[in-house]
């Protein structure tokens, strides 16, 4: 690598310092944010990093003029972080960056207006990404990765700065979303609760006033949380909100949302079109949907098994598993229709043996007791209207709407 000359390095550094000071004094947030975004790997930042590594005594430059030295607390760790970042020492870079970020927040607090929010976003994003990478570095060295946790607590601090009244509150949701990302990654989802509470209980600030992208992200994560809690109507609402408000061109985002929304909708009795699954490459749900349509228990189980790892990781496995009852319902319904065609007068009396036979045909080996149990559960959960006569082993279906549709309501549990 060709090192820049001393003068060149000096020029680049002072250039950067000037840019920073100008951005602050003119409140030019766009260029300020650019100065922080390491992960953009912009050539100007990279060359600056080289210059810093070459020109070791950047702090002297900062101290030289009053203009720079008033931001010395911010700039010195920023330079150090950039140096380490360039050298690939991400842990060091993270440490310095956190120091820088703390100093910046201190400064940010003193600024009355919220002009620097974008810069703060950049920092929140960078610190998260940096922490993730630093953790990767740590764990590859056999050390315990803890930087992301540190970034989480730092962002909590940022959240505290933003969450009050005033114009800065607009930025709170962005930080919240970054926090969600961290918590979901760390598996410490329970920590989300406090943040959510402070967002949702704040009456002074209408949720709709937050930037749209943040709203979408927020709804996506809270929707996922509801999936975990198996609170399907709420999950449906949140994920649908995210879907309708997200940028339709961002297919990756839409896919992420659909990944959770589809199982939720399925468990509410709403099936997606195949073309939707194809468009967003969610074919793992294809068989599940088919099984639901056909009442094909075997297919459902097979699909679950095939994609088990995937479903387990994304956390929808249990949701999909619960579709089994709907598959049973569909099966019974089919049997009912067939009987009706044959003999409408006795159609509402389903013999247990018939169901067992149908399941056998699906290679589901279940005996009478078990099927009886399933039927009672179906009745219990209001998927089938009717009653079960134990003595004669017959399911007596209601003559009116024996198979109520879910219509967006979750299965009783």
């Amino acid at each position: 690598m060709a090192y820049p000359s001393m003068g060149e390095a000096h020029r680049r550094i002072t250039d950067y310092l000037n840019k920073f000071c100008d951005a602050v004094s003119y409140q030019d947030v766009a260029s300020l944010a650019q100065l922080f975004s390491f992960s953009s790997n912009s050539p100007s930042l990279l060359s600056l990093a080289d210059a810093l590594n070459f020109f070791q005594d950047a702090n002297r430059l900062i101290k030289q003029s009053d203009k720079f030295s008033q931001f010395g607390e911010i700039l010195a760790p920023l330079f150090r972080s950039l140096q380490s970042y360039r050298l690939g020492n991400l842990v060091e870079a993270y440490h310095a960056f956190e120091k820088f970020a703390n100093a910046f927040i201190q400064e940010f607090r003193n600024w009355e207006s919220a002009w620097a929010l974008e810069a703060l976003y950049a920092i929140a994003y960078e610190i998260r990404v940096l922490a993730e990478r630093a953790d990767r570095e740590l764990s590859s060295n056999g050390k315990s990765p803890e930087k992301l946790k540190g970034a989480g607590s730092f962002l909590m601090k940022v959240f505290g700065v933003l969450a009050g009244k005033g114009p800065k509150r607009v930025g709170a949701l962005y930080v919240t979303c970054q926090l969600f990302k961290i918590y979901f990654k760390l598996g410490t989802v329970h920590l989300c609760r406090s943040v959510i509470r402070s967002i949702e209980t704040a009456r002074i600030f209408d949720f709709e006033e937050f930037p749209r992208r943040d709203k979408v992200t927020y709804m996506y994560y809270t929707g996922r949380l509801e999936v975990f809690n198996e609170n399907f109507p709420a999950a449906d609402h949140k994920l649908s909100y995210a879907l309708t408000h997200c940028n339709p061109l961002r297919e990756a985002n839409i896919r992420m949302i659909l990944k959770y929304l589809i199982p939720v909708k399925l468990s509410l009795g709403i099936l997606p079109k195949t073309c939707l699954l194809e468009k967003y490459n969610l074919l793992e749900y294809n068989d599940v949907v088919k099984a639901l349509k056909r009442g094909d228990l075997r297919l459902l189980r097979h699909a679950l098994q095939e994609h088990e790892d995937q479903f387990l990781r994304s956390g929808v496995y249990l949701v999909l598993e619960k579709l089994e009852l709907q598959v049973y319902q569909r099966l019974v319904k089919k049997i009912y229709f067939i009987q009706k065609q044959k003999d409408p007068s006795k159609a509402h009396q389903l013999k247990l043996e018939v169901i067992v036979k149908a399941l056998k045909w699906l290679e589901m080996d279940m005996d009478l007791d078990e099927v009886e149990c399933i039927m009672t559960i179906l009745i219990y959960k209001n998927l089938v209207k009717g009653y079960f006569a134990h003595k004669s082993k017959v399911v007596v279906l209601s003559k009116q709407d024996p198979f109520p549709k879910l219509n967006g309501k979750p299965v009783n549990s």
């Binding site: 975990f228 990781r313 956390g315 598993e321 619960k322 007791d369 149990c373 009672t376 009745i379 079960f388």
Partner: protein, 982 residues
Amino acid sequence: MMNQATNTQTLASVDPNAVENRYVVNANQGQTSLYVPSTTGSEAASWNMYRVENHPAESGSFSNSTYHHVQHSEPSSRTVQDGSNATSLATSSSLGAANTQPDYGGYTSYSNSAGTYSHGSAGYQGYYSGYQQQPNPSYSQPVGAYQNTGAPYQPISSFQNTGSYAGPTSYSSTYYNPGDYQTAGGYPSSSYTHQTTTWNGSNYANYTTQQYSNYTQDSSGAYAAGNAGANSLHYQQHYKQWADYYNQTEVSCAPGTENLSVVSTSTQLPQVSQVPGVSGGYPTSNSQAPTTFAPPWRPESSSSQTPLLQPGATVTGAYDSYRTHGAPSFQNQHPSPVQPHFVKPLESKSSYGNFQEQQKTACPQLPNLQYPVAQQAPQNYQPPTQTVQSLETQRVSKLQIQTNPRIASNLPLGLPKLDKEGPNNNAIAKPAYISVSLPKSSEKVLSNDAADTVLKAGVFPKSLKSYVQRALALCKDEKQSAACQEIMKEIITKATSDGTIHTRDWDAEPLFPIPNTDMTDKNNSQNPTPVSLFSKYKKSPTRRTKSRWEPLEEKSVDKLGSLNNYAAKYSSRVPLDEKDRKPIGASSEGKTDVMKKIRFPQMEQKSASKTIQRQAKRQRLADASAADNGDASSDSDKEQNLTAYYSGAIALANTPEERKRRENRSKRFEKVQGNRAESNHFKAKNAGTGNLYARRTTALVLSKSFEDGGNRAVEDIDWDALTVRGTCQEIEKRYLRLTSAPDPSTVRPEEVLEKALLMVQNSQKNYLYKCDQLKSIRQDLTVQRIRNHLTVKVYEAHARFALEVGDLPEYNQCQSQLKILYAEGIKGCHMEFAAYNLLCVIMHSNNNRDLLSSMSRLSAEAKKDQAVQHALAVRAAVTSGNYVLFFRLYKTAPNLNSCLMDLYVEKMRYKAVSCMSRSYRPQVPVSYIAQVLGFSNGVLTNEGSDEKESDGLEDCVDWLKAHGACLVVDSNGEMQLDAKVS
């Protein structure tokens, strides 16, 4: 917290007028006025007493300001230590700052809690320097008061005068008293330094060096108590010191002791409140002045009025004391403690009668409590910190636990002082005690304070206390007392670990050949015995504490009992410490873990602060080499206590880190053991004490270094070099929790352990026996750091036994340990336990995320395992509610899966029946239900003879009836479940 709040409120209710009244009564107003500026500035709690005096002198209203001020100073120190306290204090402190500064005028520098109080008074500067570092503003203020008032005080200094001051002054009287009795200048200064040290912690060195090495110990103990408690502890220490002063300086030992005891009582009450929060700690510390302190704090948060009220109460108490007791000053002290306790009942009533009653109650308690109180108070403080984090029950237990170590330390402190100045005390002490009606006071206190006080009181074992006190009594100097404290700690911890605490007759213990049979088991006979003891030993206060505690203990025990089974066992005489520890370990390991975590940071902080303080002290003290040692020892003692406590809590946990710590602890105790052996000789031989002391200090240093270095340093220790190799050949060994370094002669080597495991596995004895044996095997393995297939086998065996009897806590211990062992690649029945783990998650945590994560963690290979498959099938059955499948799986469960399923059977059955009753029409035969729900042949699969079938049917009927099902007999005589009605 709630308790505290209530207390404060009650206190608040007390009328400020009462305070004023006192003043009126007291002729000292003029003097008090002098004090006012200084005292007001000075402290919160003890100072409250002062305040009362001061307030009257100045004005009824300003009491608030003074309180604030006091609070302010305290808060600052507290804030440093305790975050939680800090917040509440901070608010108050701010107020106080504004108010106090004017008062101080020249002392304004004090007002800055920062710790650097530049005192203008030349004479006191040295002392103050100590103060300055540790910003006990309140203390500094008093100091200032002394300086200023120096002249006035001396005249007043006569105790009687102080008495005239009323309760409030009682504390002040201590300050003043020093001046009176001893040379006013030197004494007060020393006393102050002590106080300051207590406050600051760093000041300790100063203390000890000057005169009150004993005090320093106390204070150190207080420090040890915990960061959170630190403030409160300091207060307590101060109080203790005060008490000590009283005893020492004042000929009227009895009053002094009474005061102390009062303080202790008050501390107890506050402690109760403290348990919830740090603030509670303050009150306790105040106990002498404690109550006053507590009020100030509370007032801060709640309102300034409360402080005033408290003073008023104290005043009234003082009145009573005056009447009842010859020494007003003492009385005053009593009232002050009383106030916190009684505040509620007495509240603001100016009527003397009420006050007197209160005083009485307080007094009785006080005598008993006196020294013990001091101990308790520190203990209490620690508990609060712990408790805050832990659950309530845990809090109690924790608190108690902490108290044990501290008690030991505290007792010694009190004793040394007594020893020095003991002669006077004896005579006086008796009368004081007599005057106080212990039973009454205790009862009243109990009723007033409610459960909280009881709990706290319960912490201390009576007999054990007496034992400790006796031991301390034997000590003739500080060193001895320190060494004695150490020994006592060890003994107690050992006893607790052995479980012999309950059984052991402390009165008859060899260390203390004192022939006081009375001491044992006396709840009510306390008064006479203490007196006799005192007369003999001239250390009556300590014993009395025992006697008084006894009634309290009983109540506390009862409460504890409700909380823990263990408590019930111990209730008769069990030392509180033991109770606490055991319950914690047995019932709530998870909690203890939490506790540990919490404590560790505290510990670190403490140690750090201590070291800093010490350094400062040393610099200051040119001639304090001996004193320093004393301080160091006391500090280290406290630390040791804490560490011991930790280790005890940790001992139950199985993680490797914990083990390491355990080892660490055991190492630390190696020396201790040696000392212990000598402990018997100790009392007789004064000369020997020196050696012991030296050893102790080294041991302490060791332990300190461990703690100071933070727990991180633990990894750097060469564990291999410390590993024990057992030589014991006994196959059978009872489990005793280690409280000292393992003795190779009692540790079994691996071969023997293998035999022992076989023996246990083939044993026909009950689970308790097996559990005991297996625990001892596990201990020996841990101590020798054996981690191999045998370790896995032992844990697996234990886990299975535990499962068989449904002992989930024990099972969880083993499971978590096994997880680690498996992760280390040691072969075992990994799959079997993976299945158990899965079942556990399914059955006992309603957390889908946990379930998902444990499912996704299963390897493909694991999923092929029969047991794991079974577990997965069970999961599917549970999630779908398929009861038929569930009970089929239940009957075919491999290994001990059925044992875990047992725990879910009830739920499943209930769900099934509610489902059936909704789905079936018109009826379901019970026989079918019994069959489907696994009644017919329970765990024993496929052995359903006809007899069993009918048994199962009957069981089923019973069960259904018990759950409100409606059964009908149909035409065939078959029992039917009427689905519609059910």
